[in-house]
Amino acid sequence: MPALWVAAACTPASLSDLSRLLQVIGQFLSLSLFSLGGGNTLLAEYHQLAVDQYCWLSARQFADLYALAEAAPGPSSMIVGLLGLGAAWREGPGWALLSACAAELAILLPSTLVMVLACLSWKRLAQSPLRVALSGPWVPSPSASCSLWASRSCAVLTRMARECWCPAWCAC
């Protein structure tokens, strides 16, 4: 549904209005628990949100930010902060920085909460049979996330290749 609307006219969604900002934060909060299996599982989802749905960035800019996040030291999942920065860049640097921090916190908060709870209780359960029982069913999730991850990265790469590199090369 949003894709059709976007195809017609893509106007950047403004973040200057607080309720809009909260809505976007909510979206990142709910995505957080789906970043399974490491790597950047959510990369294509970010692309969909930032480029297609909200029109904050061009496909070219998205690829550049991805490169920046990969090249800079630290976890490359911090690309979310860069997306937040780009999303509110029109609103001025102060607002952009706020939006960057909000995006990063929103994407990290739920998954980190789950991880903290898991670690603390994991330790407390060290001797209990419950831990043994729990580690069984979790074994399959790498295979599910492996497939997710592989397909996701292929999707993003082909897309980036199509939208960014080809025009760049043709222009050269």
């Binding site: 950047n40 989802e45 550049d64 976890p75 780009g86 980190t112 295979s143 960014c164």
Partner: protein, 198 residues
């Protein structure tokens, strides 16, 4: 959050350093974050946490990495949470995470500001295009490494193929795909008394 009555929690392996304090956790995670450019953080984190600082044995580290990969969220940040929680409970987890994120995030924000100011310069564009290519290559190699582990498992391959089709050909959204494929995979791999999954 440690219980001294548990035998496992106090017996440090031979050759291990004393349990790190909060400042050490912060600086250790900062060191991990700053030494790894363009992915490959787990290798660096292993080198620093296990070999240099001797906080954990290699087995303990690998257990942590498995837990960090199983739960949602970026692996490296989950790993920092795991290491922090292991030694200093909740405070340790938060401090380790701050060490992993604070300085790199500020640096990245500075780079981001620079990018949005000067990205019209063609030289910057060329450099970034090179970095995208390198990053994409690294991402692909990671994919093949994972594929290697599941090569002998037809169910995983079928599942991977189906998810690939759904996402890249039919442009399905990630969330519904996870909600459908996740439980399917869990149901299939659920340990059964007769046939044990490898």
């Amino acid at each position: 959050m440690t219980d001294p009555s548990l035998p496992g929690s106090t017996s440090a392996g031979e050759g291990l350093a004393p349990r790190p304090g909060l400042a050490a956790l912060f600086s250790g995670m900062l060191q991990v974050a700053l030494s790894a450019f363009g992915g490959g953080l787990s290798a660096w984190s292993q080198r620093i946490v296990v070999e240099q600082r001797r906080w954990m044995t290699n087995e303990q580290f690998l257990t942590g990495l498995t837990v960090a990969r199983l739960f949602p969220g970026p692996n490296q940040i989950n790993m920092a949470v795991y290491i922090g929680a292991e030694f200093r409970g909740l405070t340790g987890a938060l401090v380790a995470m701050a060490g992993m994120l604070l300085v790199p995030f500020s640096l990245l924000m500075a780079l981001g500001f620079l990018y949005f100011q000067v990205h019209e310069l063609p030289a910057v564009d060329r450099v970034l295009a090179g970095v995208v290519a390198a990053a994409a290559g690294m991402a692909l190699s990671m994919g093949f490494k994972i594929l290697d582990q599941y090569w002998k498992d037809p169910v995983a391959l079928v599942l991977a193929g189906a998810v690939l089709l759904a996402l890249s050909v039919f442009h399905a959204r990630l969330v519904p795909v996870v909600l459908i494929s996740g439980p399917l995979a869990m149901a299939w791999y659920w340990p059964r008394p007769a046939r044990r999954a490898p």
